[in-house]
């Protein structure tokens, strides 16, 4: 278990002090695939570097299985880092070493003998699906293949935690998908806790079980992915869930009453919800904005309806919608956000 408590980090720059992280509190359970999402500059990279103390926090503690790693000496920290390994956006392979030697690198650092290291590296090449690339150099591989080698290298020391710092941001969607599959597979088969830093919604949606949304150095929302994404509350979360700014239109009031319908895993994709409400309740609702996504055959997301009418009509509409499973309804009365 990783517990991040009251973590703050500030940097001194020429323009004064920059607070990269402000009082961050997170708990990551063993076996989770935990996403930390935010816009660039939100402090994601700083946060992940505090988990292995590449950055020393200004305040607060990071506990890994109860051990306060901020209090460790540089030398003790090195052995922690063999248990909490990392992959990067730029892969960061050693360009003058073969793939096999790259995977051996962390084993060399911890003094494993050459034969044993080589054996382990060959096994890992199999795990990441590149058994024929042992003697190839990184420059001869595609981006996706390089990231696979980097993953194999990160697994060499049999870590408990894998930190992924924008690991798929430099890859095309198809390769991203296959790398995420690999990460999920590793998580399931080896039971490694995975922490994923990303700015891509799709990454979190695809494999994360939990997510924390980071905005300007603060965790603004946190929880299970389905909960956070179906009813984003904070402005930062909304910006991520509705990247086109769909919600912004709503601020202008056109005289009608507005109801927000939140799909939280409803089987709504099969039912023509609005049409049925019009037929059964004779309430005509216009869709002001909608942003829903289907995960499996369930709908998640958010729809804003505009209804012209008095309290009675709006009340009936809300009752009707409330009656449907996994749908939450609320009336929007003022500015969003």
């Amino acid at each position: 278990m990783i517990e991040i408590k009251n973590l703050s980090k500030s940097f001194q720059t020429a323009d004064g002090t920059v607070e990269a992280l402000k009082n961050v509190n997170l708990t990551i359970q063993d076996g989770d695939i935990y996403g930390i999402i935010g816009m660039s500059g939100a402090g994601k990279s700083t946060l992940v570097r505090c988990i292995n103390m590449l950055e020393r926090p200004t305040e607060g503690t990071v506990l890994i299985d109860g051990c306060d790693i901020g209090s460790l000496s540089e030398i003790d920290l090195r052995s922690v880092r063999r248990e909490v390994t990392m992959i990067f956006q730029g892969f960061n392979l050693l360009m003058q070493r073969t793939c096999l030697k790259n995977i051996c690198f962390p084993l060399e650092l911890s003094g494993v003998n050459k034969e044993e290291a080589k054996k382990r590296a060959l096994e890992l090449l199999d795990v990441v699906g590149l058994p024929d690339k042992a003697n190839a150099y990184p420059a001869q591989l595609s981006g996706g293949q390089q990231q696979r080698i980097a993953i194999a290298r990160a697994l060499a020391t049999e870590p408990k935690v894998l930190l992924c710092d924008e690991a798929t941001s430099a890859l095309d969607p198809k390769t991203t998908h296959s790398i995420l599959e690999l990460i999920r597979d590793i998580n399931e088969r080896l039971g490694i806790t995975v922490i994923i830093i990303t700015h891509q919604m799709s990454v979190v949606e695809e494999i994360c079980t939990h997510v924390a949304i980071l905005d300007e150095g603060e965790v603004v929302e946190e929880g299970a992915v389905s909960t956070v994404f179906s009813s984003p509350k904070s402005r930062a979360a909304k910006r991520l869930v509705f990247p086109d700014g769909a919600e912004e239109i709503l601020t202008e009031n056109r005289g009608e009453r507005r109801i927000r319908v939140v799909f939280n895993g409803a089987l709504a994709t099969r039912t023509p919800l609005i049409a049925r409400m019009a037929m059964e309740q004779q309430i005509a609702a216009s869709i002001l904005s909608a942003s829903t996504r289907s995960i499996g055959d369930k709908a998640y997301g958010n729809m804003l309806l505009g209804i012209t009418g008095d309290d009675e009509v709006v009340g009936r509409a809300m009752d009707y919608l409330q009656g449907i499973e996994d749908i939450l309804v609320e009336e929007v009365t003022d500015h969003v956000g």
């Binding site: 922690v80 050693l94 360009m95 003058q96 911890s110």
Partner: protein
Amino acid sequence: MLDKLFSPEVIEETLWIVQYEIPLAIWETIYVTVLATAFAVILGLPLGVLLVVGEKNGVLPLPKSAMHVLNIVINLLRSIPFLILMIMVIPLTRLIVGTSVGTLASIVPLVIAAFPFVARLVESSLREVNPNIIEMAQSMGASPFQIIVKVLIPESVPSLLSNFTIAITTILGYSAMSGIIGGGGLGKIAINYGYYRYKYLVMLIAVVLLILLVQVFQSVGTRLATKSDKRLKGGR
């Protein structure tokens, strides 16, 4: 003038020099250059490494004052003209080699002039290493020493090789100057016959040979550097 340059007597004398003095001179030039470069690298490589890792944000930050002294010493040595440096280090040369004249003795001033230069070249090579790769090594629990010997130096081998090639050709040029304090080699031939005895043809031959040597060192160095670089596609 031209017929004086190529008169039968001159040609005969030149041929004699080419036959009996030039081969030894070539050999002396090569061994002085190679030896001086080797010592300069032995001294310059660790200093170059210190210049990079000892910085405030380096992998092994050293006290600011130590870095200051290191930089000043390197700059100081680099700013003394070689001709003057050769004379200044005569006592040191005598201490190390036992004499201050001769081919072997000329290696000492060459090394002293070249190692700060090599240190700067090494510094610039190591700075080319992607800082993200160093961060990667730290994230895997590498110690500063491991980062130096397993990451910084191996990753910059191609760049180091091309910089050492620059060093060896520069040292070759300096070694010709050491003819003045009695160092052997092609430089001595050129100065003794060309400058002191007006035998321009001999000087010309010595100069052409020096040019050829530079070409050889340069092309071998460039080839080694390219061949060692695994970043180039298909470079196996």
